[in-house]
């Protein structure tokens, strides 16, 4: 027989994004992809996707033109380091905050 008090004694979490908050705010530099260099974007064929594979925080998409979720990207720069086409540049986030075209 289940003990009706069991629920009271148990703590359980629900799964979801952002348990550490908007981790994009940890970032100092943000990755920016140059689609003229990116292999799948340039060839229109699925290839490479190493930025998607290695991103520790699962914020890069596996699309022909990869996108990055800046809400949660921690700005580690592994994607830029591993990109075989040098298509990703790490640009100081401050540059984006100061400008009028702030996202």
């Amino acid at each position: 027989m289940p003990d009706p008090r069991f629920k009271i004694l148990t703590s359980a979490s629900t799964s979801g994004p952002g348990d550490a908050g908007r981790t994009g705010s940890w970032r100092v530099e943000r990755p920016v992809i140059d689609m003229d260099r990116c292999i799948p974007a340039k060839t229109g064929k699925h290839a490479c996707h190493l930025c998607w594979l290695y991103c520790p925080d699962n914020v890069v998409s596996k699309d022909l033109e990869p996108t990055i979720d800046l809400e949660y990207c921690k700005g580690c720069g592994i994607c830029a380091q591993e990109c075989p086409a040098q298509a990703i540049e790490m640009i100081p986030d401050a540059d984006f905050i100061k400008g009028a075209d702030r996202e």
Binding site: S11, S13, T14, S15, G16, P17, G18, D19, A20, G21, R22, T23, W26, R27, K45, H46, A47, C48, H49, L50, W52, L53, Y54, P56, D57, N58, V59, K62, L64, D69, E71, Y72, K74, G75, C76, G77, I78, A80, Q81, E82, M90
Partner: protein, 316 residues
Amino acid sequence: MNPGGLDYNYEDWTTIMNMTAKTSVLNLTQEEFIYPGNRACSGCGLSILYRIGLKALGRDCIFVVPPSCLTVMQGLFPIAATQMPVLNCTFASTAAIATGVRAAMKRLGRDTQVVAWAGDGGTSDIGIQALSGALERVEDIIYICYDNEAYMNTGVQRSGTTPQGTLTTTTPLSGKAEASKNIPAIIAAHNPAYLATCSASYPLDFHDKLLKAKEIKGLKYLHIQTPCPPGWGCEERMTVEIGRTAVETGLFDLYEIEDGQMKLSGPSQKLLGKTSLRPVREYLEMQVRFKALSDEQINVMQAEIDQKWAGYRDTF
């Protein structure tokens, strides 16, 4: 919607996996089992492993995790990053608790995979007796040790697997005096059903070793070298590069042991054909934790690696 044929659902993908020998970036599932916005540091090697490892394990598993960076990364309360159930346990009891969970699953008639996933401190020091017991009893679990070579979660204290000469917060001046424990060798002495070493820099190799482990009965042990930027003293972007350098210099070897037979895996196997490997100094100079090593110590390390590989060339 699906121009490249990449968007497999999990079942389709499993079928495809059974047809192809190796997973590639292209056929690796896009399904994610961990959410972004978790508490791991930026550039964490464990995050890469956990994310790709979960893709191999699939939804039908339960994790048993002792105190470690993974406890933090898996998610806390009330939101957790991991989409599968995780049971947190005390340090010394990981393999014992995993044994109990497996027994409960058996009683319920479920094939649910039980995966103990612990750090090097939790495995090589504090949890080793429970693990040795589970190995001796041939429990049907997967045990993963991610080895970031120190107690990272509490601020980089030296552990049993910290290499000799490494600077940590408890060996701050001249580095750790003692040599590191060879945990895979200790596990191998128990004759496990399957043993493999992996690296966070080769996540697909880890993925496929997990797929293999899932099919084997008995205790499967995977030991993974896991770069950690704050603990190793390197830039966050260097995580993958450093792990790769450890393998390419011949310092950390990727291999499997099945039926007592050791076999080098892909990236390490390839090195057999080379007449000389990258010098270990390249690996050491990438990390602040090795700053206290003397030239003499580095030469000794290099000589040990050369000797090990001369042995491999004779054996394989």
